[in-house]
Symmetry: C2
Subunit: 157 residues, 2 copies
């Protein structure tokens, strides 16, 4: 029985497939799931830079955008809670939203919540498919002290 | 309960620590363990090339060396079976020795044995510490279709 797992999701297909694979294999008992989404600070800043170049008369504040994006992400997580409860076979699912760099927040939340396992999909935005260095998964693997379960979410060739 | 796990070992400190960490966390029930060692074909060939340059009158055949190294590795695995039984909490531990490139054999044995999980230490010869690209762990992660559990065996900083 894994006491407490951290399951970060970027709402991508890869993350959804990881949930399905997890459910299908049905080999891990889980006590509690921290369902995490990290609003990517880097992407938000780039978008805002682009936006302010196009419409420099419109004042948009990073704080306001951060707040709105976090609220939307929380809503999306909450919509997924029942699915995650079913897949991981536990009633204890806690949605958490953070703002920052995904790998960094994943490593931080794993410590703060004292999880016994981090579950990551091997593909998708967080995985390995596009790039190796710099991928969220790779950085989490390098930086965390916690065990990491990589779930293959993409069949090759 | 993980039906069947593949636990490759290179007899390094990293691999030993992974066993300890696994035992300490005590969160995974395991049905069967395939305890694998891969005699590294690349290293053996390099050693033999060096050897034949130094002593070119001595005829040593690769096949004979392969056979001897495999026998020695099997003996070493057998000595570890009791420890692994205890750590993984199962009586079913099957030692397997292969000759080839470690990442390739790990991926192959995972398929042949239809394991439900591959457990890898994050550091040591098989892990990430020295190099990122080309490490055994990285290649296994990229190539296998099976879930991979990375166990951190080295504390950073």
């Amino acid at each position: 029985m894994f006491r407490k797992i951290l399951f970060p999701t970027d709402f991508s297909e890869g993350a959804c497939r990881a949930v399905e694979k997890f459910e299908k294999s049905n080999e891990m008992a889980v006590g509690e799931v921290i369902l995490l989404h990290v609003v990517d600070e880097g992407i938000v800043e780039e978008l805002m830079n682009g936006y302010s170049m196009l419409y420099d008369d419109v004042g948009v504040e990073l704080n306001a955008v951060e707040k709105e994006l976090k609220a939307k992400a929380l809503k999306k997580l909450q919509e997924r809670v029942d699915r995650v409860k079913k897949a991981f076979g536990t009633e204890r699912v806690k949605p958490v939203v953070r703002f920052g760099f995904p790998w960094e927040e994943i490593v931080k939340v794993a410590e703060e919540e004292d999880v016994s396992l981090i579950v990551l999909p091997s593909h998708g935005k967080m995985g390995f498919s596009r790039e190796l260095f710099g991928s969220t998964a790779m950085r989490v693997l390098k930086k965390t002290k916690r065990p990491v379960l990589m779930i293959k979410t993409h069949e090759e060739g």
